[in-house]
Every structure is written in structure tokens, then in C-alpha cells.
């Protein structure tokens, strides 16, 4: 369970994102934190750390010359 979004934590995240919000907007954003947390839980299925995506650079013949 993700902890409640505290005011200092929200300030930090917004600062990192370069966003300047009003107090009303911050309060509004906090109202959806539980919904967002639930979404994040849904994409965290049990899987090993080796279960990464295939990644292909798609090298072309020009890359190899």
C-alpha cells in the first residue's frame, strides 16, 4: 500500500516536474491520489526481475559498416 501523499511529498514532486500549482489545484490533485495508487497496483503483477521487455535496436546494414 502506497503511503498517503503528504503536502511536502506533493511539493517535492511538483517541484521536480517544474509545475507551479495553486493551493486549490494541489488539494484537487490529492483527491485522486488513491485512484492513481490503485492504477499503479494493477500494473504490478508478480513477475521476476528478469521479466524485462525485449529491446531491439533494429540495427541497419548502414550501422554495421
Amino acid at each position: 500500500m502506497q503511503p498517503t501523499l503528504t503536502d511536502p511529498a506533493l511539493e517535492y514532486l511538483l517541484q521536480c516536474a517544474g509545475l507551479t500549482l495553486t493551493d486549490a489545484e494541489k488539494a484537487d490533485l490529492k483527491t485522486i491520489h488513491d485512484g492513481l495508487t490503485a492504477m499503479k497496483a494493477r500494473v504490478r503483477q508478480p513477475r521476476g526481475r528478469m521479466a524485462e521487455l525485449a529491446h531491439s535496436y533494429g540495427f541497419t546494414p548502414e550501422d554495421l559498416t
Binding site: 511538483l14 509545475l19 485522486i32 491520489h33 500494473v43 504490478r44 521487455l53
Partner: protein, 462 residues
């Protein structure tokens, strides 16, 4: 005159029984009669339309039609670049922006001889919702203007349903073609990811973005897709798949077609309104009567697909608009500002977990469809809501039925499956395997031709 679909208009134009100029003037008359109510256009291009129509007519009289789109009035969602025509993405941020080049889809439609009626209303940068703090008002539903069209291809849905244009371009990141198609009672295809070039179209979320046709019927979508599909090196996600003849695939029967229904999406995960359920049940009966077999399939809950797509969408949008978020945040509508705020709350790890989950979900659908040609579910949960009843945080309100197929990139079509108690359209969504867009269109076309839903137009234009 009543406005025909593309197939009928093309046939009449080829037989020289309908003039592109006459058709365009009839569409312009409708535009003048409805625009003050519908707000489907951010910029009508009347002079361009008449010039295109006259040029098409002269060319057809001289050499015959170039193809079935020659002389057909169309519209382009205003996130599609148009050379010499203002393209604002519905935003103050791009006021006065006049691109030098057409987007690939606009160029392909122009090369097919279409008539450009104008730039169509969109949610700002194809995001947010119905906003009243933008340069232009949101589009209204022609079946009842007090109601929403869905979005973000809202103007395309409204203008096609009202017969102001015969077809138009929509874009779809989480359902922005299929939502307006469903609520405006038209056909809208989100093609397979990579089938239609996105070059010159403003991005929303790059790994979920699709460009596609919206028209009155599935057959008209097939005709339009023929012009749009194909490889374009200017779009890094563009596929090199061979393009079939989409209209030839429309056989009218479904003998041997294997249909799966993801019943738990619309009956358990998010129970749809009775009219939608009736529409789906009737569609299954029609499919059986046309020769298809029907079985039930089960995949992860709808909420999982919605969460996965939403997290990816939030992050990719925040990245695409990061610079303006930092420097011109207040120039966005309130709804889009709110969406951009979300980017601050989704971490890099959250994004990677969502992308990993997408791979699992894709694999799940691939397995579920191994012995099937299409699967169906709802396109929208019910009739269109009233304009003032759209929640400000709709992303967290309910999961949507369209996002699963942006997550997988599979082709998906919404067609009208009836009308609800308020008199507004409801829809069914038909989903195919990758690059089997022709099969999706075949099923949609067969359904439309076996039912009477295409005979009804909004009273506003009757």
C-alpha cells in the same frame, strides 16, 4: 438533398448522376444550418471546399474518377497539419499556427481528390474533455445537442452524424475515434498500430496514438482506409505490411467467421446500460444468423487494461508537453492542465511497470484470440451523457471499453447497434487481430447491412 454515404456518392459521381459541386453545396448548406448548434468546426474552409469540388468535377468530367474518394466532402480533426490552413489543436498555445506542409493523412486524402470542408473541433491536443475555456466551444451531439459527443474527435463525430461531411479523420489514444463514433451513432475504426502514418499529426501519447477513419458506415471506413493505409518512413512506428483491398473483403456474410465475446468486460467489470447490452445480444444473434460461430472468452479485468493504458498515456503526454507545462501551463484549458499535473505523480518505475504489464496483456489477448477472428464488447457504457455531467476526473471515474485495444494496438471498430431510452445511439465494438482490419470491417459491414440502424439520421438534419 439527403446526404449519401461515400459508397453511394462515389457510385453516383462515377455514373455522372451526382456532381461533386452539387454535393459540396448541399454539405455547406447543412454546415450553415447546423454549425451554430453543433460547433463541429473550428475552421470551415468554404472557399477551399468549392475550389476542390470544382477541380474534382472538371477532372472527373475529363478523365473519370480517380477512385471512390474523388469529389467526396471530408473534414480533418484540428490536430492534423494542413498546409496554409491554421492548425491550432484546439488550443490558445497554437493560435495563428499555419503549417507549411500537410500531414501524411491529409496529403493522402487530398491526392485522392477529396473536398476539404474544414478543420474539425477536438479536445485540446486530443486530451481533457469538453472545455468551455478554449478559443472555440466544444462540439455538441446532433442527436440531442444538450448531450456530449465524447472525444477527442468530437467535431468529426458530430459532423459525420449530421451529414455535414461524408467522412473525417479522427485520432485515438484511448478511444477518441471509437467514443465519438459510439455516442454519435456512426462508424469509427482505430486501425492496427502503425497502419496509418501519424506524420504531421500532434502527438498525445506516442505508443498509443492511432489515426483512422470515421464515417457513416463500416463500408465507408473501408473506402477511406484504403487511401490512408501504407508505409511512411516519416513515422517511426509505420508498418511495412502489405495493404489488402479493404472493400473487397466486405462479403456481406460471416460464414466461417469465429466471434468471441468478452462478456465480463461489459457484464461484470463495468456493467453497461440495458440498451447497450441489448445491442450486443442482438449483434451476436445477427452474427450467428449470418453464419458466424460465437464463443465466450475471458481475459484480465477491464480495470487492468484501463490502468495500464492510463499510466502510459499520462506519462507520455507529460513528456510530449513538458516544455509548455513548465513555461505556459496557464495557456492550457483547465481540463488539460489537470491532466498534465498527473505527470508529476507517476514515476519512471510506474511507467516501466505499466509497459511490462502491457506486454503481458498483449500476450493474453493474442492467446485468447488464437482460435478466433474477432472479439466483441461494448464501445461505450451507455447513451451520451449531458454536456454538464462529464466528471472533471473522468480518467478515475470508470474504466473505458476502448483502451484495451490501444494497449494492444489491435484494430477496433465501433458501429451503431441501436438506440437507448433517451433516443441516443448505442454501439458495439468489434476487435480483430493485428493487420486484420479487413476482417473487422467485414463483420461491421455485414452487421450494418443486416440491420436497419443506418436508415436513421438525427432529427436535427431531417
Amino acid at each position: 438533398m439527403s446526404i449519401p454515404g461515400i459508397a453511394e456518392a462515389a457510385s453516383l459521381i462515377a455514373a455522372r448522376k451526382l456532381s461533386p459541386v452539387e454535393l459540396t453545396k448541399a454539405c455547406l448548406d447543412r454546415l450553415h444550418a447546423t454549425e451554430a448548434t453543433l460547433h463541429a468546426f473550428v475552421l470551415p474552409t468554404e472557399e477551399r471546399a468549392l475550389a476542390d469540388a470544382k477541380a474534382a468535377e472538371a477532372a472527373i468530367m475529363r478523365d473519370g474518377p480517380r477512385g471512390p474518394m474523388h469529389g467526396i466532402p471530408i473534414g480533418l480533426k484540428d490536430i492534423v497539419d494542413t498546409a496554409g490552413i491554421e492548425t491550432t489543436c484546439g488550443s490558445k498555445l497554437l493560435a495563428g499556427n499555419v503549417p507549411e506542409r500537410d500531414a501524411a493523412c491529409a496529403a493522402n486524402l487530398a491526392a485522392a481528390g477529396t473536398v476539404l470542408m474544414g478543420k474539425l473541433t477536438t479536445h485540446e491536443f486530443a486530451d481533457g474533455g469538453p472545455s468551455f475555456d478554449l478559443p472555440k466551444p466544444p462540439a455538441h451531439n446532433p442527436w440531442n445537442p444538450d448531450h456530449f459527443t465524447a472525444g477527442s474527435s468530437s467535431g468529426t463525430g458530430a459532423a459525420v452524424a449530421a451529414g455535414v461531411i461524408l467522412c473525417g479523420i479522427g485520432t485515438d489514444t484511448g478511444g477518441s475515434i471509437r467514443g465519438p463514433a459510439a455516442l454519435c451513432g456512426i462508424a469509427g475504426l482505430k486501425p492496427t498500430y502503425g497502419l496509418v502514418s501519424r506524420a504531421g499529426v500532434a502527438p498525445a501519447a506516442f505508443s498509443l496514438d492511432h489515426i483512422g477513419p470515421m464515417a457513416w458506415t463500416a463500408e465507408d471506413c473501408a473506402i477511406m482506409l484504403q487511401v490512408l493505409a501504407g508505409h511512411d518512413p516519416a513515422d517511426p512506428a509505420s508498418a511495412t505490411h502489405t495493404i489488402p483491398h479493404y472493400r473487397e473483403a466486405l462479403t456481406g456474410h460471416l460464414k466461417g467467421v469465429r466471434v468471441g465475446v468478452i462478456r465480463h468486460f461489459h457484464e461484470v467489470d463495468y456493467k453497461v446500460e440495458p440498451a447497450v447490452q441489448t445491442g450486443i445480444d442482438n449483434a451476436l444473434s445477427v452474427f450467428r444468423s449470418l453464419g458466424a460461430t460465437v464463443s465466450e472468452v475471458t481475459v484480465s479485468p477491464l480495470q487492468d487494461w484501463h490502468a495500464c493504458g492510463s499510466l502510459i498515456s499520462i506519462t507520455e503526454r507529460a513528456a510530449a508537453y513538458e516544455e509548455w507545462s513548465r513555461t505556459r501551463l496557464r495557456d492550457f484549458s483547465e481540463r488539460v492542465q489537470r491532466r498534465l499535473h498527473l505527470g508529476a505523480l507517476v514515476s519512471g518505475v510506474d511507467y516501466v511497470q505499466a509497459v511490462r504489464r502491457r506486454r503481458e496483456l498483449r500476450s493474453e489477448l493474442q492467446t485468447a484470440m488464437r482460435e478466433l477472428d474477432v472479439v466483441i464488447t461494448a464501445g461505450a457504457p451507455g447513451e451520451a451523457a449531458k454536456m454538464d455531467a462529464i466528471p472533471k476526473w473522468d480518467l478515475f471515474d470508470k474504466p473505458n471499453f476502448t483502451m484495451p485495444f490501444n494497449v494492444t494496438g489491435y484494430p477496433a471498430l465501433c458501429v451503431c447497434s441501436g438506440f437507448g431510452p433517451v433516443g441516443l445511439p448505442v454501439s458495439v465494438q468489434i476487435v480483430g487481430k493485428p493487420f486484420r482490419d479487413a476482417m473487422v470491417l467485414r463483420v461491421g459491414d455485414a452487421f450494418e447491412k443486416a440491420t436497419s440502424w443506418r436508415s436513421r439520421r438525427p432529427a436535427l438534419v431531417n
